[in-house]
């Protein structure tokens, strides 16, 4: 198991995990954007693998995926982006986040070693709960990659037991019933479910969905070890007209969230 994920949650601060869709707004800009996120204060990077039918995503990430696919981005090219990123950053963990079919087409046994060689640390497949994909999860383990699973507000205690025993790296808590980017966040409601997760695992807990600025990140970070910011960042990048502008937007946005997280008011 890669130690990078564990270290990212062990830096004495809330782990900030920005999400960007690989290849959006332009495939040639993604690696620079990733470095800029780290410069801005990211601890862990979530790289979205574009899929044509992203059932759990709202319009911002759907459109980012469509644009990336139109520009020819594939799982293969996403791994190339990670390799390139690793030439200048050996420490920041990268999680790939996406859907099952591109991984299945790449090859369930071929993908994990290729991803590990590229420098990927873990995989979160939104449409693959722990009940499914046994062969893939085994191959990920063999390759030293973490299988990261979601826990939702609807997850029962019985399922939570099962997910926590299968989980590696960290547990990703979906902060509300809905799709990415929706405006439904109630940070106080995280206290109870996060406590239920902590009763069952010592893995760190990160929350995502609906966190869109420094204030909401800080509110969520009061309950969790990490926060994921996706649509708000992807939306800002989509409007960038040049590589420099995208890089600046990535760095500045993450820096502003970092500042809010570290200035916890105490």
């Amino acid at each position: 198991m890669s130690g990078r994920i564990g270290k990212a949650f062990n830096r004495g601060r809330t782990c900030l995990a920005p999400f960007v869709t690989a290849g959006d707004p332009h495939p040639d800009w993604t690696v620079d954007i990733l470095h800029a996120l780290v410069e801005g204060g990211a601890d862990l990077l979530e790289l979205g693998v574009p899929f044509s039918d992203p059932m759990a995503d709202g319009p911002v990430i759907q459109r980012a995926s469509e644009r990336a696919i139109e520009r020819g981005v594939t799982l293969e090219s996403v791994l190339d982006m990670v390799s390139e990123f690793r030439r200048h950053d050996a420490d920041t963990p990268i999680i790939l986040m996406g859907y099952m079919n591109p991984v299945e087409r790449f090859g369930e046994t071929r993908f994990p070693p290729a991803a590990a060689a590229a420098g990927v640390d873990g995989l979160l497949l939104v449409d693959c709960p722990p009940e499914e994909g046994a062969a893939l999860h085994g191959a990920l383990r063999d390759a030293g990659l973490a299988s990261i699973f979601l826990v939702a507000p609807t997850t029962t205690d019985a399922r939570l037991d099962q997910i926590c025993s299968a989980a590696q790296g960290f547990v990703y808590y979906v902060s509300f019933k809905g799709i990415t980017g929706a405006d439904r966040l109630d940070a106080a409601a995280l206290a109870e479910p996060v406590a239920r997760i902590r009763e069952r695992t010592t893995l760190p807990v990160a929350a995502g969905f609906g966190i869109n600025d420094g204030d909401s990140a800080r509110a969520v970070g009061a309950f969790t070890d990490g926060v994921v910011i996706g649509s708000a960042l992807v939306g800002r990048l989509a409007e960038a007209g040049s590589r420099d502008e995208a890089v600046a937007r990535a760095r500045d946005f993450v820096a502003s969230v970092r500042e809010s997280l570290d200035n916890d008011g105490s």
Binding site: D127, V151, K177
Partner: protein, 404 residues
């Protein structure tokens, strides 16, 4: 996994797998809702009052049983096996789809869900859902691709007349698959009070089983009618396959009858070689889409490809997992017919028998005619005439260069 390892009576396993196909590939938020649904269906299907109510609705509201009609002039023209039509087109709302929505609507009522949502391609499932929701006083939202809204305008208006809200989906290919994505997003967001009425034998477990069970009334009736009227089972069953609910409903009660051949007919669109088709079983590969592992049409990177069929109801890049499993086990055979062949069959059935089939069902008719012509006169082919073609009149006129 060896598809022979599971016999039909054992399929699917308790987690909804038909061999390597099926399962529940959905985001965590929906897993509990699926568990609830499995429990509810498991319970109510054993409840004599629930099942009696369902039977009454099928008889008095849907108009079952639907007849089996001997198409004598078509038979004469083919010069082979007797051609028999299972007349699902005579059901209320004009297709087999209502067999399923009557059942799921009733289940939603019993589960205390006041709101139902559905996706639709040709609009037949949307109409069938809106119809049942009106009668059961449920709020109803139907998701439909922008492209389909244009080519099935009459069905859109029918849904609105029955009080449903039709929401246009403009993402992706703007057809059925995108409507399904959007319905899933709605369900994730409103999972507490909403029942998702899936219209075909695809999606996560238990939908493939539940939708099959509701449509299996077609096959049970057909089997009994064949024995009563023709004193023999048919030699072959033929049904069109998009997601595959009408075919699964007809096939399932015959799976143990090994002498009865089963043929599913997919949409070859402009021809399989052109890549513009919707034949996931004939030309696709196993993968994961919309909650289940099944045959689907995608590119080398695993992106789902845009499909084409003259028939909106077959214009879908996946297929029910039980069909995938029947294909690999060899119990059923899957073929594809082109838009042009389906249109020829539409004209033939209209002119020779006075029956205008839905363009979806016309695919089954087209292959059924071919098959019958290669068989002996003492044999019979039972074609599922899954829907009527009133909804397609506009499309047919446009193809002939007419505006109505």
């Amino acid at each position: 996994m060896n598809p022979q390892a599971t016999t039909p009576s054992e399929a699917p396993d308790p987690t909804g797998h038909f061999g390597e196909f099926g399962g529940s590939y959905v985001s965590e938020t929906l897993m509990h809702a699926l568990e609830e649904l499995r429990e509810a269906w498991g319970r109510w299907r054993q409840d004599p009052e629930f099942m009696a109510r369902l039977d009454r609705d099928l008889a008095h509201y849907v108009g079952r049983p639907s007849p089996i009609y001997h198409a004598e002039r078509l038979t004469a023209r083919c010069g082979g096996a007797r051609i028999l039509l299972k007349r699902e087109d005579l059901n209320h709302t004009g297709a087999h789809k209502i067999n399923n929505t009557v059942g799921q609507g009733l289940l939603a009522k019993h589960m205390g869900k006041p709101r139902v949502i559905a996706e639709t391609g040709a609009g037949q499932h949307g109409v069938a859902t809106a119809t049942v929701a009106a009668r059961l006083d449920q709020d109803c939202v139907v998701y439909m691709g922008e492209t389909d809204i244009h080519r099935q305008a009459i069905n859109v208006f029918r849904m609105r007349l029955m009080g449903a809200e039709v929401r246009s989906v403009s993402s992706g290919s703007r057809t059925l698959k995108d409507a399904l994505n959007e319905a899933m997003r709605d369900w994730v967001t409103n999972v507490d009070d909403t029942f998702y009425v899936i219209g075909t034998v695809a999606g996560p477990h238990p939908y493939p089983v539940m939708v099959r069970d509701f449509n299996a009334v077609v096959g049970r009736e057909a089997r009994a009618q064949m024995l009563a009227q023709h004193e023999a089972l048919p030699d072959a069953l033929v049904a069109c396959v998009g997601g595959g609910s009408n075919a699964m409903g007809l096939f399932h009660p015959f799976i143990g009858d090994e002498d009865v051949a089963m043929v599913g007919v997919e949409a070859a669109g402009r021809g399989l070689a052109t890549g513009e088709h919707a034949a996931s079983l004939c030309a696709g590969k196993p993968g994961v889409l919309h909650g289940c592992r099944t045959y689907l049409l995608d590119d080398n990177a695993g992106q789902i490809t845009h499909t084409h069929s003259v028939s909106a109801g077959l214009d879908y890049p996946g297929v029910g997992p039980e069909h995938a499993w029947l294909k690999d086990s060899g119990r059923a055979q899957y073929v594809a017919v082109t838009d042009d062949e389906a249109l020829d069959a539409t004209r033939a059935l209209s002119r020779l028998e006075g029956i205008l089939p839905a363009l979806e069902s016309a695919h089954a008719v087209a292959y059924g005619l071919k098959l019958a012509s290669q068989m002996r006169p003492d044999q019979s082919v039972l074609i599922n005439l899954s829907g009527r073609g009133d909804k397609d009149v506009q499309t047919l006129a446009e193809i002939e260069g007419l505006s109505l």
